[in-house]
């Protein structure tokens, strides 16, 4: 059955290949294909979490001559703690035979551009130099012919393939994207214009498989993606990429909730056609709060410039957030806000802070015997749960199915505030006290007090016999 499917897929691919050859009457296509192929690699790593191991692999593009490889941030989800990722590899496909495997280091994520970076940690086995691909900010116009060269899934031996398409529309959601008529090679593949310049990267959408070592990857070939992100959106990553041990420091404003101002509201406020966003809420003690931004303020300008337009009002907060991410912590930004209808704009200078620690960087503890894992709280936990500022505790991150903890009624995302009648301060204390109790009284139940949706409840976990 599986074999059948593979053969069908292969047959389809041959058809695609033949079609492509026909389309490119001269040898331009072949030249591009030959030039680009050496820049395409596979990145692979192991996600070892509390419940098991997962091997993840996706397409990567060589971007510098020292073996730096760019790939999609989606492959290195921000939910995965760095400590759980290991055995990074760069696979260099070969025309005949298994790809060369090179050890690699994880250089980090760039949330400004939705890219992640790996770097080879050993010399190439074939002794060839790295062939970096240079992206350029060249806008594409409707009707332009473009091409893409991508990486086929593992099931078809990580071969590269070539596709042609026509620019159909330019879109402006959170991320600018270009829609094509026909179809593009797999996610994270480079896109070229008629001059052979790399002008974009195929967008990652949820419908298309990002992992190319899983059978689902074949779906991407059956229904190829149709959107790419123009290089203008991610060039910044190459001039200032994250480096191992030096994660990018992201700026922080402290406005977790914003809404794009709808046309009717803008008209009512006399804003006319100007794009604007409304501040939904401001977290206490953040740069925004300190600068005096308030709930309900309507932001109309950043550093004197109007906000970037989106296709819909609801895209505006995402566009604004991405715009803010491109500043540096410590930088001063002036936001012009409308506070009351009919009043002139108020300029509010804000000194951006540094983004506070995120859940994936919080310290974690895994109670294997009872089958639950916890992590330290971070600022955003406090905010979303509406907790008092000084509330302490640890958050349940993971539960093993049918474990003692799960059957006792512990839920993922529960905030544990007490362990055996003692208040929980942080992960380290919790781990210490938990282990001490289990060693001391292995047959006694662990009694936790947890907060869930604002309600407290007691959870008594019977130890496994």
């Amino acid at each position: 059955m599986n074999r059948m499917r593979q053969w069908t897929m292969l047959a389809m691919l041959i058809v695609i290949g033949v079609g492509a050859r026909w389309a490119a009457a001269d040898d331009t296509a072949q030249k591009l294909y030959d030039r680009v192929t050496p820049s395409l690699v596979v990145v692979q790593y192991v996600w070892q979490n509390e419940l098991g191991r997962n091997e993840l692999a996706g397409a990567g593009i060589v971007v510098s001559d020292d073996g730096l490889v760019a790939t999609s941030l989606g492959l290195f989800s921000t939910q995965i703690p760095d400590a759980q990722m290991k055995d990074f590899k760069i696979l260099i496909p070969r025309a005949n035979g298994e790809p060369d495997e090179l050890k690699a280091t994880f250089e980090g994520r760039d949330e400004r551009t939705n890219l992640a970076f790996l770097k080879a940690a050993e010399p190439r086995k074939d002794k060839k130099p790295w062939t970096p691909l240079k992206f350029e900010d060249v806008p594409a116009a409707i009707g332009d012919k473009i091409t893409s060269v991508g990486m086929l899934p593992k099931l078809v031996a990580y071969k590269t393939y070539y596709m042609e398409a026509t620019v159909a529309a330019t879109l402006r959601g959170d991320v600018p994207q270009v829609l094509v008529g026909e179809g593009l090679a797999a996610a994270s593949s480079p896109v070229f214009n008629a001059d052979g310049k790399a002008i974009g990267m195929v967008a990652v959408s949820q419908a298309q498989a990002l992992l190319i070592n899983k059978p689902e990857a074949l779906v991407s070939i059956q229904s190829p993606p149709k959107l790419y992100v123009p290089a203008s959106d991610f060039l910044i990553s190459f001039s200032d990429p994250p480096r191992a041990g030096h994660p990018l420091k992201l700026p922080w404003l402290g406005i977790p909730e914003m809404t794009g101002v709808a046309k009717a509201v803008a008209d009512d406020l006399g804003l006319g056609d100007e794009p604007a966003i409304q501040v939904g809420d401001v977290i206490e003690d953040t740069p925004a709060a300190k600068a005096g931004l308030k709930q309900g303020d309507i932001i109309v300008k950043v550093n004197g410039q109007p906000l970037e337009r989106g296709d819909q009002a609801q895209d505006l907060p995402g566009i604004f957030r991405r715009r803010m991410l491109r500043f540096k912590p410590g930088e001063k930004v002036t936001l012009s806000v409308l506070r009351d209808k009919g009043q002139p704009l108020t300029d509010i200078p804000v000194t951006l802070g540094e983004q506070p620690p995120q859940p994936d960087t919080a310290a974690r503890f895994w109670a294997d015997d009872m089958g639950f894992g916890v992590r330290d709280m971070v600022l955003i936990d406090n905010y979303v749960r509406k907790l008092a500022k000084d509330q302490k505790g640890v958050i349940v991150t993971v539960l093993r199915k049918s474990s003692a903890a799960e059957s006792a009624g512990l839920h993922q995302e529960d905030l544990i505030t007490q362990l055996n009648g003692q208040p929980v301060t942080d992960e380290a204390e919790f781990a210490k006290d938990y282990k001490a109790f289990r060693d001391d009284k292995p047959h006694e139940a662990v009694v936790l007090v947890v907060q869930r949706d604002g309600q407290e409840t007691t959870v008594r976990i019977e130890p496994p016999q």
Partner: protein
């Protein structure tokens, strides 16, 4: 053929059991009401669920049920002791009781008020009821006749008369309606009323009969036995989950009678009687083919008395209860941990914000020992309902002494009870704007972690109307209309009416969505 039907029955049973379980495990924050709103299948037949072809299944279902009942009756007749007060279902007794009870049982055709797509509309359904006095008062379920806009009653004689909702109480899922006396007189209709029995003396194994209108099949009698007389649906994995029918909190103040008497959608509100023909319960829920549940008559007696005492020609009768705003948890296996004697006190699992106990200084993890010196001992889940009822029965606004144990200390705290509120507030339609909205009650605010109980919450919306155009969403809380604060549903209605009268072109709303505040403009049609 039979095998096929049996298969269908089994699948149906499995489905319903899965339904039941998922109802408990689910803890989604729905718009209103905490979680599993379809906890168990409610036994009301609605036209929405009526499909051609269903009748065939029902008949087969009934045939099987009849076979089962027949067996049970034969066995009961052969083996059961004949001593009172648990007379067995001898064939003679079954026939005698049927004859006695049928003239007191009615079919109820109802149009219940519901809000859908931003509009007030009705949903039609069929249920059952039992006549309780010579004035033509009929006891039924809240989920049958509560929120009724139209009511018709079909009697044993097959005559049909209109009826009126007298009062209801969703906490116990009971409602009282009354037949139109003039119509009864004009049509010269004769009826009898049921005799009340006692539910506290019920024992598992006792034979019982149910009469009702399953799937619209009026005057259907079925036979079975009490399986358990103090069933609770408390789930330690979801202590806050409780029980809901539709969105309404139900069953917190009494345990249930569980019986294997076959009941089906449409049986809801009908009587469960013992083999002397006395009313012992109101058939309410079915969890599967032989897992059925009735509200005990002892609960019903109190509710009837309260509803009839408060009902006036203008206003529905109701049951008022006190609330301390605490969530209680049985102490089983936790006694040593909290250093309390076995069967002494109850764990305060959660103290609600804005509640009476919070004001009195009660903290979660306290052990509540007594309320006004009445002990609150809950070791087992079955003891929760009686304790909750004891608190609920205190007159609203009473100052009570709460004795709590906190660590080694014994504290005497003073609380003033508040009126028990549902998370489901009063609802109205606002046609021109294309929304229906509900009062934000204290209970709703608590459940949704709102900072206060101000404003109204949008429940449903009509596409193409100003609110939908302005991208409002169900769950949004409207806090201001044209800059004026919305305190409650009455105030909102007032502001809506004013805005309509002034023919405003643009209405500026201030909306609370999650923690954000949003401005929205309703553009009114010319």
């Amino acid at each position: 053929m039979i095998a096929k039907w049996r298969d269908w029955l089994r699948r149906r049973l499995e489905f319903e059991i899965v339904h039941l379980r998922s109802g408990y495990l689910m803890h989604s924050k729905k718009l209103v009401g905490h979680g599993g709103q379809h906890t168990l299948v409610r036994i009301i037949n609605t036209f929405a669920g009526w499909r051609p072809g269903a009748l065939g299944r029902i008949i087969c279902c009934a045939a099987l049920a009849g076979m089962l009942a027949g067996c049970a009756a034969a066995q009961a007749g052969a083996d059961a002791p004949t001593t009172e007060p648990f007379p067995p279902a001898t064939p003679q007794a079954v026939v005698a009781v049927s004859k006695q009870i049928f003239p007191a049982v009615v079919r109820i055709d109802v149009a219940q008020e519901i809000y859908r797509d931003g509009k007030r509309t009705v949903q039609r359904g069929i249920g059952s009821g039992v006549i309780i006095d010579d004035d033509g008062h009929i006891l039924t379920n809240f989920h049958v006749a509560g929120r009724a806009a139209e009511l018709y009653v079909t009697l044993y004689t097959k005559e049909r008369v209109s009826a009126k909702l007298i009062g209801d109480d969703h906490w116990t899922d009971l409602a009282i309606i009354q037949m139109n006396a003039n119509e009864v007189k004009a049509k010269n209709i004769k009826f009898t009323h049921v005799e009340f029995g006692e539910s506290k003396t019920l024992i598992p194994g006792q034979d019982v009969m149910a009469i009702g209108t399953p799937f619209g099949l009026a005057r259907t009698m079925t036979l079975g036995t009490v399986s358990n007389s103090e069933r609770t649906f408390y789930d330690p994995n979801d202590p806050d989950g409780g029980m809901h029918i539709d969105e309404y909190e139900t069953g917190e103040f009494s345990n249930w009678i569980q019986m294997d008497t076959p009941i089906n959608p449409g049986n809801s509100g009908g009587p469960l009687v013992d083999m002397t023909g006395k009313l012992i319960g109101i058939n309410t829920r079915g969890g599967g083919q032989n897992l059925n549940f009735a509200i005990p008559v002892d609960t019903a007696k109190e509710v009837i008395a309260k509803i009839l005492a408060t009902a006036t020609p203008e206003k529905k009768g109701r049951v008022d209860r006190s609330d301390l705003g605490i969530d209680l948890m049985p102490l089983q296996d936790l006694e040593a941990f909290y250093s309390v004697d076995i069967n002494h006190g109850v764990l305060v699992n959660n103290v609600e914000r804005l509640g009476a106990a919070e004001k009195a200084g009660v903290k979660s993890q306290d052990i509540l020992l007594s309320v006004d010196n009445k002990p609150t001992n809950v070791r087992f889940p079955e003891e929760l309902a009686p304790t909750r009822k004891m608190i609920a029965d205190i007159p609203i606004g009473t100052t009570v002494e709460l004795t709590v144990k906190r660590g080694k200390q014994i504290l005497h705290l003073t609380a003033v009870t508040l009126k028990l509120q549902s998370a489901v507030g009063e609802e109205k339609e606002y046609k021109d704007w294309g929304i229906s909205a509900r009062e934000v009650t204290r209970a709703y605010a608590n459940e949704q972690q709102l900072d206060d109980a101000q404003g109204v919450v949008v429940t449903t919306m009509s596409g193409g109307y100003p609110a939908a155009e302005a991208e409002l969403e169900p769950g949004d809380i409207i806090r201001e209309v044209d800059g004026k604060p919305v305190t409650d549903l009455d105030e909102f209605t007032k502001l809506y009416d004013e805005s309509r009268k002034s023919n405003e072109k643009n209405v500026l709303l201030n909306i609370q969505r999650g923690r954000a505040r949003i401005s929205a403009v309703l553009k009114m049609a010319d």
